[in-house]
């Protein structure tokens, strides 16, 4: 399996200046995605997943600020690109699909207008050509009667249809990387499955990389090739999806997996306590107050990366010690 990364995120930090202090929403995040592969970015609400996505596209608004890091795409560091070139990257190279179905489409414009707008903003094409391509896109994401849909307004479509339109819009310029921020969270499970299958098919067709942001571990298991687990603004475990799910090394990943309802298990084990406030984070491991396996060394500096298996690493002092004997597979 050759691994050619299209997008490399290196040491990305995005902080928000507030009256009470600095909120480190994203703090030193590293990851990369290969063409045609899917990276699942999982974590609880508020752990910095969406801010990471917005930071990659440089769509962070004040008081937020990208403090440091590099985002490499095509040999360019996006964070140092002039604003005009950056606009060319958005949509053409990296596209974004949102979770908010109700407000992600402009209520006063038809679907067709919104789709062609994206095409017009990047390419010099005729109205007819843009509309033809928009119809093609709608057909590609599995909407019947694309010509008719283009004349409709967002409020005339169902949630699933809107999400398909959003995906069509994101794919309109055949981006190399698609960032899907909770693309199916607001949909019911059957529609969710349809959308995911569609995404997978489109990925194979177009060979793009997908960064799938979600808190749904089931979706990650079904879709992703690799998974990065985020906690309090940093990635705490990274690895191939099967590895991470079979023998999670970080106590947080393990707790997260235990809190997913399964038919075969009687009891749900919630993670005790609350995610830490991102304001004035302590110097030690952020998961410490909730960690069942914490020891003395955890009160020191933040733990560095430990390799658990091939391509599988966790940021935890006790990543090895704490693994139950039978689960140790690295």
């Amino acid at each position: 399996m050759s691994f050619v990364p299209v997008l490399k995120v290196h040491n990305l930090s995005t902080h928000f200046q507030t009256r009470h202090g600095v909120i480190k929403a994203v703090d030193g995040v590293h990851f990369m995605v290969a063409a045609g592969k899917t990276l699942g970015l999982v974590g609880e609400s508020g752990c910095g997943k969406s801010v990471t996505a917005l930071s990659i596209l440089r769509l962070i608004e004040p008081p937020g600020k990208i403090c440091s890091g590099e985002v490499w795409l095509n040999g360019y560091d996006l964070l140092r690109l002039p604003a005009k070139q950056m606009r060319q990257v958005r949509g053409r190279e990296i596209a974004l699909v949102f979770q908010e179905l109700m407000t992600s489409l402009n209520p006063v414009l038809t679907i067709g207008t919104q789709l062609t707008e994206t095409i017009f903003s990047h390419e010099e094409v005729s109205q007819a050509e843009a509309r033809r391509r928009a119809a093609e896109l709608l057909a590609m994401v599995g909407l019947s009667d694309p010509e008719g849909q283009m004349r409709r307004y967002p409020f005339q479509l169902s949630g699933g249809m809107r999400q398909r339109v959003m995906i069509a819009m994101a794919l309109s310029l055949r981006p190399k990387v698609l960032i899907a921020d909770e693309p199916t969270t607001a949909l019911d499970v059957t529609v969710q499955a349809q959308i995911l299958v569609e995404l997978k098919r489109l990925q194979e067709e177009l060979g793009m990389a997908i960064i799938l942001i979600t808190h749904d571990l089931g979706v990650v298991a079904a879709m992703a090739d690799e998974v990065a687990v985020m906690y309090a603004g940093t990635i705490v475990e990274f690895g191939p999806v099967a590895e991470v799910f079979d023998c999670p090394a970080h106590p947080y990943t393990r707790s997260l997996l235990r809190s997913v309802p399964r038919l075969s298990r009687e009891e749900l084990v919630p993670i005790e306590g609350q995610p830490p406030a991102l304001l004035n984070l302590p110097a030690h491991c952020a998961f410490l107050p909730r960690c069942p396996q914490a020891g003395a060394e955890c009160r020191g500096d933040k733990p560095g990366w430990r390799e658990i298996g091939p391509g599988h690493a966790a940021a935890c002092y006790r990543a090895f010690q704490s693994l139950p004997e039978e689960a140790r597979c690295g």
Binding site: L59, R90, E100, T103, P107, E117, T118
Partner: protein, 309 residues
Amino acid sequence: MGQSKSPGAGVVGYHAAWKLKKQSETGTHGLLTAALGRLLQDKLALLGLGIILVVVTVAVFAPYFAPNDPFKVDLMQRLVPPQAQYPLGTDHLGRCLLSRLFYGSRSSLTAAALALAAIMLISIPFGTLAGYCGERVDNILMRIVDVLLAFPGLVLALVIAGMLGPGLLNVMLAVAAVRWVGYARVIRGTVLSVKEKEFVLAARACGTSGLGIIIRHILPNVLSPVIILATLDMGRLIIAISALSFLGLGAQPPVPEWGAMLNDGRSYMQVAPQLMIYPGLAIMTVVLAFNLLGDGLRDALDPRGTVRL
């Protein structure tokens, strides 16, 4: 939007959805068409619209409707009571009151419409800029608005009109210079709320430029509150312009204008009350009509109205 989310929307929502389906099948969908449909069911708004249409028709075709020359002075026929040749009688210079009322509608309506256009021209860029740029730009622009709002509108308009000198055009400018601030505020507020919507972020994520976002995404969403405000305000603009004319700053003789006519008739109130009654009634009717239409439009363009089609 929102119809499936609002509490208790169940049956109504289903009904609305069914109606929408019907609509889209017949191909008459579209937000404005739907709004127009709702407006046509509002009897009071229709009445307002009817009155406005009649007045506009009269204004446009005044030469055809007017029974006499509105400028022809006939000192032998001063203050004549209503009769066959002068349906509403004559004024202090023997001019036909009805003809002058017809011609007066031209000045009053044009002046109000042009003032409104001037208001839009100032307030839309101003409000949009303040709302979209935010932070410092917003602060500076809105403080200017606050200062202007602190003056009583008519007094400030009086001062400006006084400085510019009398004349209908100057009165229009004076009224516009005072009134635009309210619009700028409403527009800024709407822009602020629209700017936070996900579709704006989505457009940015697709690489749309700032200007493109303002034109394609923000302004269309600002349109409906502005239309409502403008229609409701037309009445007030007509009153403001008439008031300034009444005070002698607006239309100059011999140009007929309703406010100026009121002023002319003032001295003869006891002998010929119709000289004040009819211009007054004309102003009142038109203002009422615009208010009725404005109220109807507000209901029709309210996006929440989609549920009760």
